[in-house]
Each structure stands twice: as structure tokens, then as C-alpha cells.
Symmetry: D2
Subunit: 360 residues, 4 copies
Amino acid sequence: MNTIGQLFSVTSFGESHGSHVGCVIDGCPAGLLLDLDQMQTQVNRRKSNQSAFATTRHEEDQLEMMSGLFESTTTGAPICILIKNKDVKSEDYDLLKDVYRPNHADYTYAAKYGIRDHRGGGRSSVRVTAPLVAAGDIAYQLLRHQTAIQTTAYVSQIGTVALPNRNAYSHLDLLDIDANELRCPDEQVARQMKAHIDAVQAEGDTLGGVITCVIKNVPVGLGEPIFSKLHAQLGHAMLSINSVKGFEYGYGFASCAMKGSEYNDAFVMKDGKVHTHTNFSGGIQGGISNGNDIFFHVAFKPISSIRKTQQTIDTKGEDVSLHIEGRHDVCAVPRAVPIVEAYANIILADAILQAKQSTL
Amino acid sequence: MNTIGQLFSVTSFGESHGSHVGCVIDGCPAGLLLDLDQMQTQVNRRKSNQSAFATTRHEEDQLEMMSGLFESTTTGAPICILIKNKDVKSEDYDLLKDVYRPNHADYTYAAKYGIRDHRGGGRSSVRVTAPLVAAGDIAYQLLRHQTAIQTTAYVSQIGTVALPNRNAYSHLDLLDIDANELRCPDEQVARQMKAHIDAVQAEGDTLGGVITCVIKNVPVGLGEPIFSKLHAQLGHAMLSINSVKGFEYGYGFASCAMKGSEYNDAFVMKDGKVHTHTNFSGGIQGGISNGNDIFFHVAFKPISSIRKTQQTIDTKGEDVSLHIEGRHDVCAVPRAVPIVEAYANIILADAILQAKQSTL
Amino acid sequence: MNTIGQLFSVTSFGESHGSHVGCVIDGCPAGLLLDLDQMQTQVNRRKSNQSAFATTRHEEDQLEMMSGLFESTTTGAPICILIKNKDVKSEDYDLLKDVYRPNHADYTYAAKYGIRDHRGGGRSSVRVTAPLVAAGDIAYQLLRHQTAIQTTAYVSQIGTVALPNRNAYSHLDLLDIDANELRCPDEQVARQMKAHIDAVQAEGDTLGGVITCVIKNVPVGLGEPIFSKLHAQLGHAMLSINSVKGFEYGYGFASCAMKGSEYNDAFVMKDGKVHTHTNFSGGIQGGISNGNDIFFHVAFKPISSIRKTQQTIDTKGEDVSLHIEGRHDVCAVPRAVPIVEAYANIILADAILQAKQSTL
Amino acid sequence: MNTIGQLFSVTSFGESHGSHVGCVIDGCPAGLLLDLDQMQTQVNRRKSNQSAFATTRHEEDQLEMMSGLFESTTTGAPICILIKNKDVKSEDYDLLKDVYRPNHADYTYAAKYGIRDHRGGGRSSVRVTAPLVAAGDIAYQLLRHQTAIQTTAYVSQIGTVALPNRNAYSHLDLLDIDANELRCPDEQVARQMKAHIDAVQAEGDTLGGVITCVIKNVPVGLGEPIFSKLHAQLGHAMLSINSVKGFEYGYGFASCAMKGSEYNDAFVMKDGKVHTHTNFSGGIQGGISNGNDIFFHVAFKPISSIRKTQQTIDTKGEDVSLHIEGRHDVCAVPRAVPIVEAYANIILADAILQAKQSTL
């Protein structure tokens, strides 16, 4: 339930208001010299740089490596990663104790488990992704040891402001996604997004958006039919990220309106390798990578906590008005960019280990 | 790799041109009296009724129950289901032996496994879903034993013809989806779809589309955070169906352009139960069902085999022109309706067994 | 529940009186040209050659390969194996319908599943191992493709007749275990065993025994700490065979009475390789193979069905006397020899695939 | 690889000389109020009370609960348990850096992973079982919430001193196993064991032994055919404990020399329940518990680290003499008693959750 990956397997634990969040990686091969600074950098990306529209809860998110390393090199034993939660006064959340906040997981968790940890999101908080970003970077270092894979995610839509055609990315500069705080590779669109966010922040409202992920230099042959297809595993991972409502790869929903003759990617030889002339498929055919770029889109709903007054019920079923004061996040999508990358890398690392088993 | 579900677990085997296709269900509780006719009916729905635009390969698809039953009742032992493949002359496929058909899995399978079964799609054929539709009906019978769940899928888009708003379904009659051969619950739209198909068929081209699935009377509490969220498992299952390029639940990609105040579903009490006033969430919050309708959309690309001449390469990397004569499928989307339902029911049955473990 | 192995994974299905027994192998790499005759030979060994003391239910046990092969070569797709059960008149078992036979699984299955298939052992019958012997031979062919591994099991004890020291096997000829029907590599002991069986058969009683398995030419490094240690997986597999009551490897229980200085295996170099001077450890240290012979012993209880009258109860809880007429098996241990080998080979094949993942 | 249990699933991490050892429990139902003191008591039992023959490395083994609890009650989220390792000067181990100690896992780990953490046993150290004892106590508290199960392990043999008949335990007082430091329920035998240990300690040598475990008040119906039989899972767990060489349940290897008529357990009714008159089977038939006591025996080899000089090789393959000074453990078997109980309880808790799924 709390594990992703079959061979490169990551088990998550921790709640937003427990002492730590963490994860255990089982199956990372021995002999990988880890760049721990790079891992910390990725974890920092999950929270930083977005002063204008994100809350000021400053968590240090210092990685603690508990096991599985000897002189920074993996030993083949499970790797446990911890991140300490900042002390939060529980009373800050006492007013939420008896209320089911709209679109949060308060009600479903209480109904399912018969117990409620009302201090923030508990297990359903996006905070639990912090150590998983570190796990994702280990996956990336493993991938980079053997391949030239490059995984880059970026923001392609915030609210009603979007890149003109999210399936066209070849003209974009994907090398410095963090150049602006929106993590949108088109500066002009980024400015429009920022204006949109500012306006919505003034209203006390929130926004969602779309993250696009492009993976270059993918080896041919990743993905396992028929229930571990590469895109199904990527989709599963993306749909596991908080607030995600949809996933499509290649031309996705747009392909439904195309004809076969428009959509089919013709095979061609290029530099002695099999390529396809176009890439409507998004780099995966029959669930297996074909060597072209993999690209996919992930839909995020707007943040649930708004500053406007909302109608809801309390735990006794009585109607209540909920009004939450103070600063609030307007849009979490840019912060989710390293999460998308991390989850993609975990799936790819798992797939690359799996693919070792395909032939004798 | 070939298994879906943790507790209600289904393992697929078989190829389109082997002797049989089949599956093994492990974890079905003992004591369920199976309606085998109903299972056969569902399997038949996968191929029938679409004479106008589907190929005439008539497979009988007679279910054979190999194990796990005693006097038609489940015993707790694994249930093996077989369906015999119709004998097909291998030479029918000999002209495809050395060609990589565009958008088929020919190339990726050959590259991954170093071996090629050129007789039709082999393992990548949609034929392997036939016994899985039967497994899905066992799942449904299990679900219906304990709940009033109703799983209904239907076609909401074919090519450029779509229901006006695929997120609005309350006015549709979902009781007799098979009333027209398009499996579209709006007769007028169905007629437009048919006209679209006829036109495209005349061109020798093909179409994709969208299937929408609505699940009513879902118990609260299905789905397991954080990597077995109900929608992530549904998404994984749907993305495992041949030709699927995207999945979204609730308002999906449309939610990205909404504000939090528009999107949030207010909690209300109704008949002593917790409901939400609206259902933008699609019945799942924090990965757990909240008792509202679950609904989701599945995107299918157009069929790969077109009658038009296509450029591709052969296994030696030489350019070739590919032209396939004869009748061909124009659109497989209506035939995929029972597959979508079956896979959804497998996930739900698994989730309902999992949910037994949530509390003491 | 019905699956063994993580990467070379075998799922069993079928009952003794259903139409077929079978299994599905998932994870066998593509490109292995299978010797199907050798598989059939192993399956035949499970029932043949023991006319003197085994029942005459002659089952043909003809293997049917349902999937996963193309021109006898594995394709990477799941391999389904079927064996048809001989038609048995259900009424032959009708007298057992309401009786719980002592030491059979009648009572525990009925209590657990609330349903009883009284026709023979049903799912608990050793008959279900027949296709697993075939799966084990595929595992062996996979192992032999890459290594010189040799897996040999033999009978080291029947009732009170045993090889003098079951931990000493170097003087035994393990090349032709089937030379006598007892599958005991010491002809003189085999004759004593036969006399013992004859005497016990005359009494209408039954016997158990011990099977020893020796695996030579094992690569170093098989086995995964700390819950997939090689010996723990072998033990798990052996304890899954019907009637098995114990498992020990190396000097096993005998090691408990030894001192460390007696038991420790000194490391030495031999032909440029690391060996141990002695092999009390049985070829596994810290759960990982060290390159020496692996050897282990498996304890089988006597057969439950005796011809003597026994006291038991019926399904209503009333005392009854049970007397079963006709010929009966006296000792099933020799027939279990190919099962022990098969299960060992499945574990080894799984371990050799796993070991690919240990290092970069 | 590092996980045991399917539904009550425990993943181990940590090395003897890393910062912490720990584990993550996934699948513990919500709503269990944990007695944390009792958990700590069990963990303390793993090291205490054996001053006479165990080393003086005093580790505090203070449990830290990192996640999964709210006000000491399980929430359904994964439970992470940590125990800090005492700081150990690495240089203490520097003399072992280039030596393969006989019967330790030094060589096999180095050969498998290509990297060696020479500081003590690393991942292969029994130290990793400390948090697993805590996990086992959570399992026990879960079991006790719903049943009257009692799991008691004790020492039945040390070296050549053994209880007269290890299969007869009904006369033993199992209520206070810790009454003597040997954890042997027969005081007289315990004194003989102590004398044996003292003599062997004077020689600088070591001993192994046998632990017997008796589980009373077991519900009928635990265990899942055919590869998750209850005894196979218990055996797998026991064989996962450091130094274990064998496992038998019921009359085990002794049953091989019995006749069917001697061994068969006659069914009888007692207080309206099905029992067996005798219990040679050890409470499990067909892999499923029958309600009688489960009992089994676990064989431990002698400790590998002896004070006598031993011949071995170094990492370059050169012969070396190894002589280790200082105090040393003579016998670890009494300390393994809580480990045996813990692992048994994990398997039983898993089985009791699994059994919920057997019927509708």
C-alpha cells in the first residue's frame, strides 16, 4: 500500500505532524557512490523559491541517511532516509478538530480508519513526498550511471494560463526550468501566470495547473506487459501525487480526435537506429519504450484551502461555516515539479532493473 | 508483471495466436455462487453487435472454467479461466513477418525480447483481454454480493464527435448502454458517431475515442494511501488496456482551469449520510472513496491498422511501403466498453477486500 | 498465496478432481529453447516406477503448453502449463463425503472455507504438484543455460531404515538415482527399505521418510538478505510440499550439539577460488551461497490413508469408525524426489535472476 | 527482500554500525492502542539477563516511534520504529578489515555486493533483529486484541544438554520462561546447561542449541494453501533468524520413523469443538491451523566467533591465522527466544489478517 516499485522499491512512512517523514529504498544495487548534496538540492527545490505565492512555513528538510551506505556508497542493503518535521504547535490546528474541510481528506480518512489525526493533513499531506524526492534522486543517479537519460518536468498551465500547445516542446529551453519561480520554460507565459496568481491571491482563492514531463535518451525496451506497461506505471505514480486528477502521455486525449493516418508514427532509420518520424505515441508503444522522447502531462486540481468562507459540516454532521485566516498557498503546481521528476525517475529505475530480466 | 490486484489478484496469460488465452484469479473468497451465463454474456459483449465497423473474425470465446469451483461455487482455490483461440492460418500473417507495422508493438517487443511472434499481435493483442472480462465479471458478482455497486461504462466520444460535456452524465440513461451499437447513451450523438465512422471507413482510415465510466453506490473508504489510492489503481488498470493514452477522474484536466472556490465540493448531510453538494472530485478524496459517484474518462488512440499505404521499415532497417488490404476495424472503442467495466470491477473488488483490513 | 518465486514466479491452480491441474510461470526470460521431452520425463518420474508400493491410478500426465512459447522458445510472456485429470467417478468418494479423515486436510479446509470438495484431496492433493514439476524443469533448463548447477535429490530414510549418516554423501553415486525404485543411492539400504515397506504394507500401515538434496556447482552470491535468504526460501519451498514436517540444511539439528571450533568451516584457496575446507554450513553463509555444495534434508510424515480402522468424527461431530478398503500407497517419499528437485530449481532460478540486481 | 509478511508487512533496515537499526510496519489496522512499555520490555529481553555468558556491549535499545501513531493508537499509516546504535569506534574493527572470518557472512557479502563494510557484521548482524522484536510485539498486541493466542518460546537444548523429549512439553511451566537466564523451563536441565556453557567458555569455544516454541489458543483456519501454508511461513521466518540451520513442526524429523497408525491424530469432539486426541501434527494440517497447539523447533548452530586460533584467508586469498581476544559470547540461543516469539507473532498476525479473506 505504501510501496512503489517492484525491484527499485520505495516504502513511504510518516505524517505531516509526527516527528519525521521518511522512506526506505529496497533494491538499489550495491556500488553506487551517491552525491548527497544533489539529493539535498532536489529536496530543497520542493519548497523554495516561491516566496510570492507560497506559505512561509520554513522547513529545513535536512536529509538524514540512516542505513544502506558505507562511505557514501550503496551496499545493497535498504536505504532509510529521514527528514525531521518542524515542531508545530498542535493547538494551531485545534479549531479544525471537529470540522471536515471541503476537498481535504479529513472525512474519507476518518470514515475509513475510524480515527482522526486533525493536525494538518496527517498522512494525506504532501509533506510525505519530501523524502520521496530524495529517493527519486537516488533513482536518477542510478539511471545516469548507465544511461544518458534526462528527466525534466515543468509547468505548462496555471489556472487559465497555458503554453499554446502542451504537446509541442521542442522549441522550449528545458535546461534551466528554475529560471523563473513558476518553473515555466516560456518567460512570457510565466509572467502571465504570475499575474493570474496575484489576482487570484487577492480574491483569497486558489489555482491548479498542469505539469509536463519530458524524458530524453530513454533506452529501448523499458516496461513490462501487460500490467506493468511503462506508461501505466508512470500514470500510477503520477496519480499518487497529491491533488492529481489526470494523466496522459503522448498526444493523450487529443489523440482521440485524430485519425489513424494522422496519428501513426512512421518508423525511420536515423544514424543506424530505429526512430519514428513523428512522436504522437510519446515514446511508448505496446507499453514498452521505443527510444523516442517520453512525454506526459499531469493535471493538478486547485488547492483546497481557500481564504473564502465555505459551507461544510462538522464531525457530528452539523452545518458549519469555515473561514480560515492568514496567508495561504495559491498554487502548489510549481512546487510539485521536483515531485513529478522524482516519481518518474523511481519508475524508470525500476523499469531499467526489470528490463535486465527480459532476455537470457 | 502480468498480474493486477493485490488481494483479488488476476494473472493473465496467452497470445492471440497460441492455442488459448486465459487468466488465473487468486484471492476470490470461498462461497460465491457464480452465474456463469452472466460471465459468458460479458465476454460476448467484447466482440458482438458491431457488424458495421468491426472485422468479421468470429471467435466463439466459449469460457472454460478449469479450477476453483465446486458445483459453480468458489472454493477459495485459484480460478483458472480459458478461452480457445480460433485456428488461424499462420501464413495469413507471413507478409508481416519482416515488417514493423507503425504504432503496433512489433518493434518494441522485438527489441525488448529479441524474438518475434509475427502472427498478429501475439501477447500485445487485445485478444488477451477476453478472459479478463470474465474475471471482471467474477469481481462484479463479488461486489454485488455485498454492495449495490453499479459499474457502467459508455462511449462519450468517437473521433471528433463527442457528448456535449463528458463530465455531465446525470441526464443520461445508463441502464441500456447496448441499445445502440456505438454504446453511446445519447441516440442522436450515436447517429453522428455512426456517420463519422462510415465516412472514415470509406477513406480507409481509423478512429479513437473516449470511454466514460460511472460507478454508483460505492461504499465509503475504498482505496489505500499513499501508493494504492483508488484512482491511481483505476488509472493503472485503464492505462493497461490496449490503445489507452490517458485517464482522468472527476473533472480531471478541466479542473486545472478552475478556482478552488469553484471546484471545492461542499460537504452536506443527506438522509443521515455525508454527501457533497457537487462532485467535481469524482467520488474520491485523498485516494479514498467518499460515497459519491466515481466517474472517470479513458482516452483511446485511433486503431493502428489502416488501409492506407504507410511508410515504415523492415527488420533489416530498410524502408518499405506497407499496404494492407481487406476489411478492417475502424473503431474499437465501443468494444472496449466491457473491458473498461471489467478492469474497474477488478480494482473495486480488490479495494473492497483491502478495506476489510483498515480497522480492527 | 498460490505463487512461489519473486522474479521466476510460479502460480499454481487446479484440484485433484477438477478437469485440469496447471500453473503459470511469469518471469522466464525470452530466448530459452525448451526441451519439452525432458519436462515430460520429469513429470513422469513423479508417478512411475514404483509399482510395488504405489497405487495404480494411472494418470497420463501429458503436458499441454498453452502460452509463452514460439517454436518451443520462450518469448518472455507467461507460460501456462496444463495437465488433464483422468476422469474419476465422483461416487467413488461419496462414502467420504461426511467424514473427516484423520491427518488429511478435510477438516481444516472445511473449517476455513465453509465449503467442502470431498472428491479426494481437492486442492490439498499432491496431484497439484504435477505441473509444478514441469515448471521446475523449465527453471532447471534456465539454470543450466548459464551455470553448471546440478540438483540431485534422493531418499535417505524410509521409516526406520536410513543411510548411516545423512550428512555424508560424497561417497554416494548421485548420477543414477532412479536405478532402484526407492531412489536411494545405496543399493543395500534400498533393499532394506523395500523389505520394510513390504512388511508395513502387509499390516495395512504406511511410512514416511527423508529426502536429501545436493546441489553442486552453485554460483557464489545467490540469496537475498534478510528475508529472502537462500536457505529460508528453500525451506519455504520444501515446507510447501505435501506431508513435509521439517527442513534442515548443512548439519542442521546436528549442528546444535557441536562446538564452534568443530563446526566452523575454515576458508581456503583452491584453484584460485575461495572454498571452505569442510562444509558443515551446507554451502550457505549469511543466507548467501558460498560456492560449496548446498545440501539439505526434508522430513516427510507417513501417508495419512491407512487400511487399518481408525476412529474419527463426521461433519456433524459424531464419532465414526473409518475403514478404507483396496490397495493403498505405503510410502510416497520416492515419488516426492522429483518434486523436491523441482521446487529447489524454482528457488535457484529465482535467486539467480535476483542476483543480477545485486550490483551495478 | 527485506520484507516479511503480506498484509502485516514488516520491512527491515539498518546495519550494526550505522546510526540506527529500524523497521517499517505496513498493514497494521487502525485503532489499536499500543502498550509501548510492553514493546520496550520485549526488546530489552533480547539483550538482558545473561551476564554470565554474553558480551558486555550494553546497548540501550530505546525504541523511537517515528510514525503511524496518534496518541499511542495506530492510525492505519505505516509505523516506523528506530533504535539508535551505540557509537562504536570503527578502529576496533580495523584488524578484521582484510580477513574473512570463518562462518561469518564476510566472504559471501563481499562476493555478492563487491563492497565490504567490515565494521562488525554490518547488515548480517543479529543487531538488525532488535526493532523486529518490537514489531513482533505489535503483532502480538494485535493478535491478543482478537484472540487468546499465547506464544511462548524457550530453550530446549544447549550444546549436548537437552530436555529429555523436546516434543513433550505439557508438563513444563511455560508461564515464566525468564525465571532462569537460560530460558529453559526445567530448572535442573538449566543448571546442566549453565555448567556446559561455563566449561566451554573456559575453552574459548562456543555452543548452539534448540529453541522450542508453543502457541496456544490458535484459531482454526490460519494459513493459506499452497505456498503460504502456515508452517511454511513460520519456517521461512525462523530460517531468517541469524544462525538458524533447521526447522521442524509437530513431530518433525521424528515423524519419519513412525507408522501412519502411530502418527495419525484421531479427531474427537471436546466441549462441542473439534479436537484431535493426539497432536503429532503440531496443530497444522494441510497448511492450515486446526485449533490445537502449534509447536515447532528451531536449530541454532554454535556462535562463529571463538577465542581459539583459526585458519582462514584474507581478502587477497592469503592464508592467515585469526585470533580474537577479549570476552566473547558463548551461546546466543537464550537471547534468541524473544526473536523467535516475535517472528512467530508477525506470521500469525499476517495469517489472521489473511484469514479474513477466506470467505465472503
